[in-house]
């Protein structure tokens, strides 16, 4: 890092970690992600006064746009998608003054972009600190990274970093190739791979729950835990994303990244510190310990499904194969259930059941730690009829919070036990609106904190786990079983759990 000047006024300010003056360059600046997520996030950071002292945003894409047109379009988009409404016009005006667009249809476009960046550095007295955000279709990642290198877009002083959207590759091999290409221009510590789940407050809260408190960790192992269930349930169907989804399926869209991240956070050992290296080192160890699924006995461990017609939230919805852009005989899975084991000292023999799907009855993301029952039943069978095993449930969305299920005596003469819920509601305890995941992630990338981003070895291990399952399904003679939209997936998924004498939670 070049000249870091100390600012004596910073000391004692609560916002001690404000990003340095810099420029963010968004490739795919005219795309859907930019207008729905990135720009509203940047604007909300401005509203919260979290952007650096001098800061500018440059959007880039192949189709040219004037600065004025770009600002106008984003004005509308941010007005619509910002989590805070209505738009604060004063702040927007000042924000938009530092918002530019450069067309990059060809090599000349990249030179123009370079000149624009140099001029901004001069005007803003910044140090050529640049954050490149790749929000384009994945096919454009490699050409853009190469162009950044070839046209010297990294500033001569200051730092340069690159943020890459998901999906990162479509299998282990392509992810490796992509990483290698990126490494021709950026060092690994300059690469920020997005998994927006990690930016969610409640996901970060998993770590706080586990490692800031003394009471959970002693129970967090095979001795006390019976099994773990992780659910990522969506009610929506494929929507407008059929083109992408047909190629991806639930395995690539959710399991490879989000579900395995949640698994890693729940199963990891305590890191020595909350920093990028310690946290990610521990997460990778979990992925290494994840037992590969035996392809010969696939259906004992991995179940897929595809939604048929049905009703969701009272509305009749079409089957996946009837959706626009989906092949009539599509074999893409929209549902996955897995039974996994983490082969290490802490978790040996404890199943982690995971499921995700579209068109499920309810939108819900949660992690449930189901504890073993008390070793000896002191109370009569009748008395404990209403008693379920203890469970600690971390609800990620909606109704963010934590609840603990335990038995309590019903206040009557004699003993009768009923399961009660001790509830912590995130929203009610801290009435502040949680920041959007993209706000957190963009700010972290600007500060250079990679803790909440996926490292190369993590991505590699994630693909190493899912690849064989995807391959086995691709070559299997049968198509995925159809489940009715608005149900909890195919019957086989229930069998996965009931075979062990357990049941999916009523999410």
């Amino acid at each position: 890092m070049a000249t870091t000047v100390v600012n004596p006024l910073r000391e004692g300010l609560r916002l001690a970690r404000t990003p340095e003056p810099s420029t963010i360059v968004i490739f795919g600046g005219s795309g859907d992600l930019t207008s729905r997520k990135l720009m509203p996030a940047l604007y909300n950071l401005a509203l919260q006064r979290l952007l650096p002292a001098t800061f500018s945003i440059v959007g880039a894409a192949r189709q040219p746009l004037t600065d004025k047109r770009y600002r106008d379009e984003l004005h509308t988009a941010v007005g619509e998608h910002s989590r805070t409404k209505p738009l604060n016009e004063e702040v927007w005006r000042s924000f938009a003054e530092h918002l530019y667009f450069v067309g990059t249809p060809d090599e000349r476009g990249y030179d123009t972009l370079g000149q624009r960046l140099d001029r901004l550095d001069q005007d803003l007295g910044t140090n050529a600190n640049r954050l490149f955000y790749l929000a384009t279709p994945p096919a454009a990642y490699e050409p853009i990274v190469k162009a950044i290198g070839a046209h010297g877009l990294r500033g001569s002083t200051g730092w340069s970093r690159v943020v890459i959207e998901k999906p990162f590759g479509r299998d282990r091999e392509s992810a490796r190739v992509l990483t290698e290409t990126i490494h021709t221009v950026f060092r690994e510590d300059e690469v920020f791979r997005i998994d927006h789940y990690l930016g969610k407050e409640t996901v970060q809260n998993i770590l706080v729950m586990r490692f800031a408190n003394g009471i959970f960790e002693p129970l967090w192992n095979r001795q006390y835990v019976d099994h773990v269930q992780i659910t990522v349930a969506e009610t929506i169907g494929v929507e407008e994303r059929a083109g992408y989804y047909e190629q991806a399926g639930a395995m690539r869209d959710i399991v490879q990244n989000h579900l395995l991240q949640l698994l890693a956070l729940v199963a990891m050992e305590p890191p020595a510190a909350f920093d990028d290296k310690s946290v990610r080192d521990e997460k990778v160890k979990v992925l290494h310990a994840l037992r590969p699924v035996d392809a010969d006995r696939l259906s004992d461990h991995a179940i897929r499904g595809q939604y048929g017609r049905g009703f969701v939230e009272g509305v009749a919805v079409p089957a996946y194969r009837e959706e626009q852009g989906v092949a009539k005989d599509s074999r893409t899975e929209t549902y996955v259930a897995l039974k996994c084991f983490v082969d290490n000292w802490r978790w040996e023999g404890i199943p982690f059941y995971m499921r995700t799907g579209k068109r499920l009855p309810k939108r819900s993301t949660e992690i449930a730690i189901q504890f073993r029952v008390a070793p000896h039943q002191v109370f009569s069978r009748e008395a404990s009829e209403g008693l379920d095993p203890n469970a600690l449930v971390l609800r990620i969305q909606p109704d963010e919070g934590v609840s603990l299920k335990f038995g309590a005596k019903v206040p009557v003469q004699g003993i009768r036990i009923r399961t009660v819920n001790m509830d912590f509601d995130y929203g009610a305890s801290f009435m502040v609106d949680a920041p959007d995941a993209y706000e957190t992630l963009i700010l972290d990338a600007l500060r250079g904190d990679a803790t909440l981003f996926t490292r190369r070895d993590e991505v590699d291990q994630q693909w190493a786990f899912v690849d064989p399952i995807i391959d086995a399904w691709a070559t299997a003679p049968a198509a995925p079983p159809i489940y009715e939209a608005g149900t909890w997936g195919p019957a086989d998924a229930d069998a996965l759990v009931t075979a062990d004498g357990r049941a999916w939670r009523k999410a």
């Binding site: 000249t3 000047v5 600012n7 004596p8 006024l9 910073r10 000391e11 004692g12 300010l13 609560r14 916002l15 404000t18 340095e20 003056p21 401005a46 509203l47 006064r49 650096p52 002292a53 001098t54 604060n88 004063e90 702040v91 005006r93 000042s94 924000f95 003054e97 530092h98 005007d123 803003l124 007295g125 910044t126 140090n127 509830d423 509601d425 009610a428 305890s429 801290f430 009435m431 502040v432």
Partner: protein, 384 residues
């Protein structure tokens, strides 16, 4: 007439005869509230993360702080004990404590309840206050003492109550005589070290100003100007007649710059036109910095709030000005940088709310005391 102020039982709850009765009443209220919630298939969490003790000597202040606490309850549920020293009507009469309690529901967080207790000390009952606060504190939770008005630094009740607190919250904007009170607060703060934290809400109001001024000098090209400041001007709001002259906040700002940048006094604070102050300090390299603090009438600002800042600097023959202006409606700050008289950069940011409830909320989130404040205060006292 000899009754003192009347207590509005609808607001404060019914009177209870003593601590035991008060606790019994709270329990009854809690049960009633859960029953009511159960009918609507909700549960009520009794939540408390802190004990908040408020001292007020006017019913108006007590009521206003109670309202703030209620607005805060969703973020910082507390057991709030409001002490109202109702001395006026009972001068010399025998002291007596009167207690009320109720469970207000926090706005938009009906599932959280918290407890509010009013202790009204009639007549000369100040020295009994601590004895009633102690049994009412929820054990094991931090105690915040929020003193409205100027604290009677030498007073016995003050000393006793501060002795119970983990944190003392004052508002120097309310100080009638800042030139006396600020040094007094500096002394309290020095004594407090290691025993309790001290917060001045007026300092919290300065945070957005400090943030922007700081951010100017994050820019590498502008950072060197910080060593070559030649003048600082700070405006603060006064009412139209210019009668309420409350420069504490503006002075704290100067104290902050002085403490961070090692400025030393060379001239005492001297009054200038219409309640302003004009003086000079010496930079670390000995050069002179002209400081001007002046009152300005501006609509929409609370008396004493900083209304604008201008920092002038010169380096290698280049003039630089760092300016922050405040726009009352809608509430914004505009920061601009001028080099050689030419505008180089400007941005507009919303100014966070200065409602008492926001300020208190901000402070309650932080447990320790703020050494930067202490240093700013100390520097200010040296300038005075």
């Amino acid at each position: 007439m000899a009754q003192g102020v009347t207590i509005d039982a609808a607001f404060w709850g019914a009177e209870a005869a003593g601590i035991v009765a008060l606790e019994r009443e709270l329990k009854r209220l809690r049960r009633a509230q859960s029953a009511h919630a159960r009918e609507q298939a909700r549960t009520v969490a009794r939540a408390a993360v802190l004990n908040l003790v408020v001292y007020a000597d006017r019913e108006l202040h007590a009521r206003r702080s109670a309202q703030s606490i209620s607005d805060l309850a969703s973020r910082h549920p507390s057991r709030a004990i409001v002490l109202l020293a109702d001395r006026g009507a009972h001068e010399g009469a025998e002291g007596r404590l009167e207690m009320h309690c109720h469970l207000p529901t926090a706005e938009n967080a009906t599932q959280v309840c918290y407890e509010q207790i009013l202790i009204r000390a009639r007549g000369d009952a100040d020295e009994r206050l601590a004895s009633v606060v102690i049994p009412l504190l929820v054990p094991d939770l931090p105690v915040f003492l929020w003193w409205t008005g100027s604290p009677p630094v030498a007073g016995r009740a003050f000393g006793q109550l501060v002795g119970l607190a983990d944190r003392l919250v004052v508002d120097s904007a309310d100080f009638a005589r800042p030139e006396e009170m600020l040094p007094a607060i500096a002394r309290i703060s020095a004594q407090a070290r290691g025993r309790f934290g001290l917060t001045d809400l007026n300092w919290t109001r300065l945070t957005p100003w400090r943030e922007i001024v700081t951010s100017f000098f994050d820019v590498p090209a502008w950072r060197p100007f910080l060593d070559t400041v030649t003048g600082v001007r700070v405006g603060f709001a006064v009412d139209m007649d210019g009668r309420q002259i409350l420069p504490s906040q503006a002075l704290l700002f100067i104290g902050w710059l002085a403490s961070r940048l090692g400025w030393r006094p060379i001239e005492a604070l001297a009054p200038s036109e219409a309640g302003g102050l004009l003086f000079a300090v010496a930079r670390a390299d000995g050069a002179r910095i002209q400081i001007r603090v002046r009152p300005r009438f501006e609509r929409g600002l609370a008396d004493g709030d900083v209304s604008g800042v201008r920092i002038q600097a010169e380096r290698d023959g280049q003039q630089a000005e760092f300016v922050i202006k405040r726009q009352p409606d809608p509430r914004h700050q505009t920061a601009s940088v001028l080099l050689g008289g030419e505008r180089r950069w400007e941005r507009t940011m919303p100014l966070p709310s200065f409602e008492i409830v926001e300020l208190i909320g901000e402070e309650l989130a932080i447990m320790g005391s703020d050494p930067t404040y202490e240093e700013a205060l100390a520097a200010l006292v040296r300038l005075g």
